[in-house]
Structures are given as structure tokens and as C-alpha cells.
Symmetry: C2
Subunit: 320 residues, 2 copies
């Protein structure tokens, strides 16, 4: 080879990339870039391998002004648990945006996706949540439940976190981890309706295929980020919730229509507001965000190749 290629493993990346405000800013800049011109972000390449209960998604984006672009492969092989292996995996390959040469292979097994997804949640909370959040709630008890609350706490330093999941033991473990990580009070909610009622900021982090969050749970002074739905067939909010919100914001309209909460709302014939604004337009001020403290806002995050390019470029600039 005529040039050096960096190979970084998951273990190395875990040490290099903290979930901090710098990362939130990096992902925020990706949304701003998406709102401007010049970003090239092709549709997600998906391969559904039903014969082996597997799926492969490929995302990429070119962002003008960044030195690199990433191509991210995410794998989900759902028989892996039987083999004692994680279901999710993948890697990012990073290319020079000037020469196309391979700069790095980030063997992250999905770690960077987890991080940029959490950071996007913080970006949504920063620009849409009420200024004052004392209680945040998370629906779901997995890794993203933990990361989303840690990321949101960077921008809205809430005093209490509520956790709900179908499995109360897992919810208790998640609450305990969050109490440790954030040094705040954490409780398990017995019912997701109660969790929503008591929170000013809610993040849904489940792979649900039947909606969990009901429209009549929404209340003034609430922001909800739904980040679980990333495929046709998934949804976490009832379609009517989107219309009940004063403002519904997409990460990328072309994606939420097919993969996000908006898909079910369109299919149900409930959505009548046309193309929603994108998060980037809220950040730049091209579209209004929350207009008053009592507003109900929803952000629908499906995950974009622009976030992958942003975090991968960020990683290459970090000290080893």
C-alpha cells in the first residue's frame, strides 16, 4: 500500500471516545450540515437474510468540509444469542473525502453507532426539550436506555430519572446503573403512563412493533424522543401522538417516512401535516422549535449516515 491505514478495535475505541459534549457538538454539526446543501447521503442499503435470521444495513454520507467520509455496516444476526455471541455488530470504514483512499477501519462492533445515536438524542433534547427538565424518563432497559439518559443529562441536567421496561428486573438494573453513572435519583416506574406523566423529557429506546406510548399520555411541557424505530414494521408511539404534538421533528424526512414513527402515522391516514421539519432546520433556526414552555414536542430519530461520517471523522482527529 502507498499509504498507512489505521485499524482501531472496539477496545481501543472504547477508551478513545467518551460520551461528552464534544461528541454532542460533532453530531449536532452533522445535522446542521444536513440542513444545508451539499451533503450527499444515498438511501440506506439493506439486505434481509431471512434464511439465517440476519440483516445488514449500510449507511454513508459525504459532508462538505469534513476531511473524511465513513461507510458504516451494521449487522444483526438474531440466532447469535444461542451461540453466546452478540446479535449486533459491524464496522466503519473511513475514506479520504479528497482522494477516496481508505484512511481507517474502525472495528467497533456497533460501539460508534451506539455513541452517535445517543449524541443525536442529546441534540434533540438540547433544541426541543423544555428549558427546565427535573425528571427524565426512559422506556426500554438496554444499552441505549443508559446511553440516551447519560447523553440527555449533558444538556438537561435533570435531578431524577425514571425507567420502565417490560422486564422489571432489567428496569431495576438500568435504574441502578443510571443512578451510579449520573449521581442522581433513579426509580423504576410501574407503568409507562406514569413515567410519561412525571417526566418533562422522555426517550423511547425499544424495538417495539406495537406502539407503547399513547396519545393521551402526552401533557404540556414535554419532549419525547423516539429512537427505537429504524425499520418498516417498528413503532413506539401511537400514530395519534404525532398529531397531538405541537411540533414533530424528523432526523431525515426521507427516512422517517419509511423507517420511523411517521411511517405508521402515514399508513394509518392520521398524518395530515405534510413534510415535517428536520432537526437540522430547528438547530439553524430555519424552522421554529419549541415556542412555549407548555408545548409538546416529538423528535423521531432513525439514524443517518451523516452521523456516522461525523463521528468517524471525529475519531480520526482524537489522540490515540
Amino acid at each position: 500500500m502507498a499509504h498507512d491505514i489505521r485499524i482501531l478495535t472496539e477496545a481501543e475505541l472504547l477508551n478513545m471516545v467518551p460520551l461528552d459534549l464534544a461528541l454532542v457538538d460533532v453530531v449536532e454539526a452533522a445535522f446542521v450540515a444536513l440542513a444545508g446543501g451539499g451533503v450527499i447521503m444515498p438511501p440506506i442499503l439493506s439486505m434481509d437474510l431471512a434464511a439465517v435470521h440476519g440483516e445488514v444495513d449500510v449507511k454513508t454520507a459525504y459532508i462538505p468540509g469534513l476531511d473524511s467520509f465513513a461507510l458504516k455496516v451494521s449487522t444483526g444476526f438474531f440466532d447469535n444469542a444461542k451461540r453466546g455471541l452478540p446479535s449486533l455488530g459491524g464496522l466503519m470504514t473511513v475514506f479520504s473525502a479528497t482522494t477516496g483512499q481508505v484512511q481507517a477501519v474502525l472495528l467497533d462492533n456497533g460501539f460508534l453507532t451506539d455513541m452517535r445515536t445517543a449524541a443525536a438524542g442529546a441534540v434533540a433534547a438540547r433544541h426541543l426539550a423544555p428549558a427546565k427538565v427535573t425528571t427524565a424518563g426512559v422506556i426500554g432497559t438496554g444499552l441505549q436506555a443508559r446511553l440516551q439518559m447519560r447523553a440527555a443529562h449533558l444538556v438537561r441536567p435533570f435531578e431524577r430519572v425514571l425507567v420502565w421496561g417490560r422486564d422489571m428486573e432489567k428496569a431495576a438494573l438500568c435504574a441502578s446503573d443510571l443512578a451510579d453513572a449520573l449521581g442522581i435519583e433513579a426509580e423504576v416506574a410501574s407503568d409507562p403512563a406514569i413515567l410519561v406523566k412525571r417526566s418533562q423529557l422522555v426517550v423511547t429506546t425499544t424495538p417495539a412493533r406495537e406502539p407503547i406510548l399513547q396519545a393521551d399520555w402526552l401533557h404540556p411541557e414535554l419532549h419525547v424522543t423516539a429512537m427505537g424505530s429504524d425499520a418498516p414494521g417498528k413503532c413506539e408511539l401511537v400514530p395519534a401522538a404525532l398529531m397531538r404534538a405541537d411540533l414533530y421533528v424528523a432526523d431525515r424526512v426521507s427516512q422517517v417516512e419509511r423507517l420511523g414513527e411517521l411511517r405508521a402515522a402515514i399508513e394509518a391516514g392520521v398524518w395530515t401535516r405534510g413534510a415535517p421539519p428536520e432537526l437540522g432546520a430547528i438547530i439553524t433556526g430555519a424552522h421554529h422549535g419549541r415556542q412555549k414552555q407548555s408545548d409538546i414536542t416529538i423528535a423521531d430519530l432513525t439514524g443517518t449516515g451523516a452521523q456516522d461520517t461525523a463521528i468517524a471523522t471525529h475519531v480520526l482527529g482524537l489522540p490515540c
Copy 2:
């Protein structure tokens, strides 16, 4: 990481992967698999980066029965020559077809693409060219011109090779290289019409955007493989040539319609034969191939993800 990942560089791969009949058989098996059921091959993901004169193509395919599948990224950055860098590059990532885990990263800078493309030419020649080929001709003078003739010689050991290109010096160098590599007579043709007239097997290997090969050059007892066109806007054969052939064969119908010679023929309103047969169907006998010595046959090769998966899986089985 819980498992080992093989990283192979271009230099290592150059030593490991000869252009031989074993490789031709590997690529032939990929075409047979495509003709059967169960192959999952999503449309090519393409990113056109006009601002930096770059393009990125991503191909992949899952082939039942193979242990691995590859995801291949090809880059073309056309300002690289100014920088003293090659325009084309890329890599393949290889995943377990059972668990989705990354098995290998093949930092080949397009070498494996070159090899599997040449091998596909040999597969087409094996199944479509006249049984007896004494003279083969190649249009174009680059790396693929050399590789295509070397691969074709494995299945049709012709006695003479003719080379034509717009640059006579490059054509002379290509002819000289082929004479050395194959130990046969090699000549530069002064005119592509003469080259076609004297050959029983012709391979076109150019990035032409205006057709070179004219319909009235086609003669009985001729097979033509057009492998240069792989993008909308490219074509090497006049549309009428496709109709003049007794048999026109696609590597993949869904690709040649958009990227191959068939695109221009459809756009010109010249093509009236409906969906052409695919090379895999010729190999398996599901569709007839050459029916008599005097037939004129054409194969249109755009390059498939199945070939990438086939060669990558082959590489992982080779001794280092």
C-alpha cells in the same frame, strides 16, 4: 474483540490470488448461484461526489452455501492523477454468513475486483465463444485489456491476440505484455473494425461514452464480451449490435438495463426482445447458449456483488 479478523493488504493478495482456472470456476459458481434461488443481492449503493470528482459504489450479495459474504466498496477519484495517486481504489469487508461477524478486511485497492471481472469474462467466453478460437481481439489497452485476454486464454487457448486502442503506443505496450504473458503472437490492429473482422472472440474494455463497435462489423462465428460499461452514460457497442446478435446475454438483467449496453439500446427504442437471458441460465442450461458455430453472441458484464462475495470467500480459503 471476541474473534480474530484477518487484514490482508494489496501486496499480500497479489501473491495469494493467481488468475487461474480455479478462480474462473469460483466466479462461474457465483453465476450459477445467481441463476438459482436464494441469492440476496441488493441494488448497488452509489454516491456521486461531483464536488470532488469522486464516485463511490458499494456492492454486496449473500450466496446460500457460502460461509461468507463480502461488502465491496469501489472508489474513483479522478483528480488523484494530479496528485500522483491512482484514481481507483477500495476494499472488501468479509462477514460470516452465519453470525454476521467481520472475518476479514481485504485492503485490495480494487485488485480483487480486477480479478473477478477478468474471471467473469472467461466464464462468458467458456460458455458463449465458438469452440475454436484462433484469434482473439481486445479493444482498450489498460489493465483489464491484459487481464481479460489472459483469462480468456485459459478457456480458449487462441494462437494470436489483436489489440486496438486510441493510443497506438499504449496498444503496442499492451500487445507486447500479452505476447510475453501468453507466449503467443500479438499484434496492434490499426482499426477496431479490422480487429473484429479477424477475431472469433472480442472483449471491449473501455470507459467509452460513444459506441465503438458497430453492428455491421459483427460476423458469423464471433463472440463479443462488453465489460466496460458499468454506469449510466457509458456504452461500447452501438444499440443495433445487440439486435444483430443471435444471442445477447446479461450478467444481471436489473443491472444491464441501467448500467450496461442494454440501457442505450432500450433508450434508443432498438431493443425489442424483452428481458434477455442471464449468464447463469446459459451455464446451467436453463437457457440455450450458442446454437451453431456461425452464431453471433454478445455478453454484457456490469459486475455483480455475487462475484465479489465469491472471490472474497475464495480468498479466505487460500493458504497465506
